[in-house]
């Protein structure tokens, strides 16, 4: 039972301190799930994010489901996901009930502008960490640069990048294996 409690505490906390959706959750996931709890590696986290981006649904939820499933199967997936969304349910419920014009308060706008600056830096730190586990040679470096530039410059679905680089990865991997023999 202890692991379910730990899943609840960890994912509830992440749901309560993540501002700005899936990408903003990445640095907090690295801290809570990889560094503090050892539930998965940085590399697995990159894999979950890749799959989360090209499957239906909300990226943060998809990642929580993945980690919960890895630890305790379907019950783990359900506990992690529900714990992640519980803070939203409470906070938004309160705002919708009593603070309809919450986002218009100058204090909220100023505080949120400050939070966005911090989240930018946290995402930068997260990317630096992920680069170590995902860019391992020249072909992967080329894939990284090409994806980052194209995804920033063009308005294309992430699905396309994931499908193309998966095919590319299989081709490169098989050629490398053949070269070893």
């Amino acid at each position: 039972m202890k692991i379910y409690w730990e899943l609840f505490v960890s994912f509830f906390r992440m749901g309560a301190i993540t501002f700005g959706g899936g990408y903003a959750m990445l640095p907090i996931l690295q801290r809570e799930v990889v560094q503090d709890r050892g539930w998965c590696t940085d590399q697995e986290l990159t894999d979950y994010f890749a799959i989360g981006q090209c499957t239906p649904g909300i990226i943060a939820v998809n990642t929580a489901t993945f980690i919960g499933y890895k630890l305790r199967g379907v019950p783990g997936a359900v506990v992690a996901t529900l714990s992640l969304v519980l803070p939203s349910f409470i906070i938004i419920g309160v705002i919708a009930a009593v603070l309809q014009n919450f986002a218009e308060y100058p204090l909220v706008q100023n505080a949120f502008a400050g939070i966005r600056v911090v989240v930018t830096v946290l995402i930068l730190n997260a990317v630096i960490k992920l680069l170590r586990s995902s860019v391992v040679d020249k072909p992967t470096a080329a894939i990284y640069v090409a994806t980052a530039v194209l995804a920033f410059a063009l308005d294309v679905s992430p699905v396309l990048f994931v499908v193309v680089t998966a095919a590319l990865g299989i081709a490169l991997h098989i050629r490398k294996e053949a070269g070893k023999k």
Binding site: F19, G57, A77, P106, V117, N125, V127, Y144, L168
Partner: protein, 191 residues
């Protein structure tokens, strides 16, 4: 039976919106149009709140629209509706990956996907950075490009970057709280 309908509408959104919270927006606009539960301008207000409160944006939107349409029980139905497809799809994929982990095809695919995933996160981070560190509306041409730089924001970013290097043990939440305090104190949004 608005509760069942809410569940069903958000189930569809969860099943077809690929690429995270903001991808649910077009679904919400059309939902409001054909059900009359909320207006387009309410969606815009709800998005502003969802972005400035903690939690995944898509989840916040579902809870808010559910509440606006049918109270607390409505928000529960919308919430369960939007996460159910994710849980089913991801559990199936995770089970398949567990079974085929050692296949050279799966390993090859992830060899290619990993750097692409990091690239996608980098691109998303750049978009966040542009919104957080630049005042794009102040752009007057390359000869005076510095007018777009938001010096207060850049100073905070540099301080936080140094802080995360110096105090590696501090939880990211500490920096987020600090950002909120500094932003409020120095009127970061100019409000």
């Amino acid at each position: 039976m608005i509760y069942l309908l809410l569940f069903w509408e958000f189930f569809k959104t969860g099943l077809f919106a690929v690429g995270g919270g903001l991808a649910t927006l077009p679904f919400l606009y059309s939902m409001g149009e054909h059900t009359g539960w909320f207006t387009a301008s309410q969606v815009a207000d709800m998005l502003a709140v969802s972005e400035s409160t903690p939690g995944p944006i898509g989840i916040n939107m579902a809870v808010y629209t559910g509440y606006t349409s049918a109270g607390v029980l409505g928000s529960v139905c919308a919430l369960i509706g939007i996460i159910t497809p994710s849980v089913i799809v991801i559990v199936l994929i995770a089970a398949a990956l567990k079974a085929f982990r050692d296949s050279k095809y799966v390993q090859g695919a992830f060899y290619g996907i990993r750097p692409a995933s990091t690239g996608l996160i980098t691109a998303a981070g750049l978009s966040v950075a542009m919104g957080a560190l630049l005042r794009t509306e102040a752009w007057t041409g390359w000869s005076r490009f510095w007018t777009v730089l938001d010096w207060k924001a850049l100073a905070l970013a540099a301080a936080v970057f140094a802080g995360t290097r110096l105090f590696k043990k501090l939880h990211p939440a500490v920096f987020i709280l600090l950002g909120a305090a500094v932003g409020a104190l120095f009127h970061f949004a100019g409000a």
